[in-house]
Symmetry: C2
Subunit: 314 residues, 2 copies
């Protein structure tokens, strides 16, 4: 069984699991939301990442879901599996990475568990308060679609680190910063949700194609993209480096950003809020009333963007 099959099996066993276990965070009555995310060294840590960055990433992964849902962090629990190969300095740096990210984002650590394990495992549990529960399935016909951040950089960084792909400066620097020190736009997410600007939103860390398809499927809508969520100067750098831009942007993953939809009358407010918060915000398309699917019109051609894999425009 792969991870998706295991999740589906769990949904079938849990009472109301098919309805409840579908979103980025668990919203329960009383305005409390929960999220857990496990970082595993053997699968989630790229080469060259420091232990401080590893600890920090474990926290950021779960914070990213709170960001997309506009949930304010309050409490964290920390559950660790520590392998024998780690020395004291590495353990301490890992802990400092997790704990400084927690306190820096308003989460009080109230409990945890420490164990020996064969793999380094950092499980971070976040508890927070929400005022509005924004779901994946809330897209409305005519909504505009936005994404924060610049997509594709992590894909390029990982291709360099894992496969030795040659990438020139300054693109390499930008790419490695995204891989090693991701930073979800928490304050933007909270303010956008609490102000009621969003109809739907989702954390993008499983990749843009997966995220857009999940939003389209759960909303029962068609998403028509007319732009990529990447600044023009970065697209130029990607092309100069001979990258397949569409593949990097849609099928990379590990971008801890927010993909959202909002009605057209919220456009100016969102743009202003992003500017206030220093967040890069790209308007990338529109929602239409059609069978679920994601389509991209780019450089004069229209292609369907599948959940996973990649597409070639030429």
């Amino acid at each position: 069984m792969n991870e998706l099959e295991i999740i589906d099996y769990i949904r079938g066993l849990v009472p109301n699991g098919r309805r409840l276990l579908t979103d980025d965070v668990a919203f329960v009555r009383g305005g409390v939301a929960y999220k857990v995310d496990m970082l595993v060294r053997s699968t989630d840590v790229p080469p060259g990442m420091s232990y401080y960055q590893i600890g920090r990433k474990a926290f950021i992964s779960v914070l990213s879901d709170f960001t997309a849902k506009g949930v304010r962090p309050r409490f964290a629990l920390l559950s660790l599996g520590i392998p024998r190969d780690m020395d004291d300095a590495e353990i301490k740096q890992t802990l400092e990475g997790v704990l400084s990210a927690a306190s820096g984002h308003g989460a009080q650590v109230v409990g945890g568990d420490v164990n020996e394990a064969k793999d380094l495992v950092i499980d971070v549990i976040l508890v927070g308060r929400y005022r509005r529960a924004v779901k994946r399935g809330g897209m409305k016909c005519g909504d505009l679609v936005f994404a924060t951040g610049n997509f594709g950089l992590t894909s390029i960084g990982l291709d360099h680190l894992l496969n030795g792909a040659a990438v020139k400066e300054p693109l390499l620097d930008l790419a490695l910063k995204e891989v090693y020190e991701p930073e979800p736009p928490l304050s933007f997410g909270i303010r956008a949700v609490e102000a009621g600007y969003l109809n739907a939103s989702m954390d993008s860390s499983d990749g843009l194609a997966m995220t857009l398809n999940e939003l389209a499927l759960q909303s029962g809508k068609r998403i028509e993209l007319t732009a990529l969520p990447v600044s023009n100067n970065i697209i130029m750098m990607m092309e100069e480096n001979g990258r397949d831009v569409v593949k990097d942007v849609f099928f990379g993953g590990e971008e801890y950003q927010v993909v959202l939809s909002a009605s057209e009358d919220k456009r100016d407010k969102l743009v202003k809020l992003a500017k206030d918060e220093g967040v890069v915000l790209h308007e990338i398309g529109r929602v239409s009333c059609g069978p679920p699917g994601v389509y991209l019109s780019y450089k004069g051609k229209t292609v369907e963007i599948p959940r996973a894999g990649w597409v070639h425009l030429s």
Copy 2:
């Protein structure tokens, strides 16, 4: 760094960590309590345990802390690391073990995370409601000390499974049942705490000696034991099997039971509650106003019970 050193380092880094991170569960304002416990296959699973029992044990480990603190389970999150060596049937049995234990104890699973890892890791997070926060440090001079269940059986079961120690029936059966299918006295714990019978309590899964010493230390009191928390017929079986009874009882661990103190006027009420709930309850000693420590008077001798290790009475 060992696990205790890592926990101590975390306490030092977390704001108010030395005060907050000291008890079985995290009590936060508003009557909500949290607990996380990670089961790791390579260290927490004895030989011969089925995957269903492994999944169940992962839930029981965290439930045990709620039991000792009288917290009613409400929500659970489930974070998994699954190694490639597990086949579909093993994964499904594991999930069924965790999830049936959750639903059987009133915990609605509201979220989770699934990952690949080198070790089987099952991290269970429980959220519950409490009416009274009973701490480890609440023992009063003159309190009676009680423990639920029969201690020493898991030590004998594990000695048999791990070291091949010969154990005769029916003791072997009793011991293996405790190892494979522990069951904390949840309803007893909730009723005893909510009725206000307890001054202090703690889950005993790290071993009776560790548990009593922790209670004594945090309460600043001396515990004087005059009996073992084991039924007489089981002590007889242990002696017939040539076991070192005091060592098995105090220095085994993995008993998911409750060690508690209560004022003398609560004795009859506790005994009646235990009878109502079908729970074995042993009165084992008394709290006195002295420097922290744990002493056992048994078979005409008095010995100090250290946090860990073992003592010989002869």
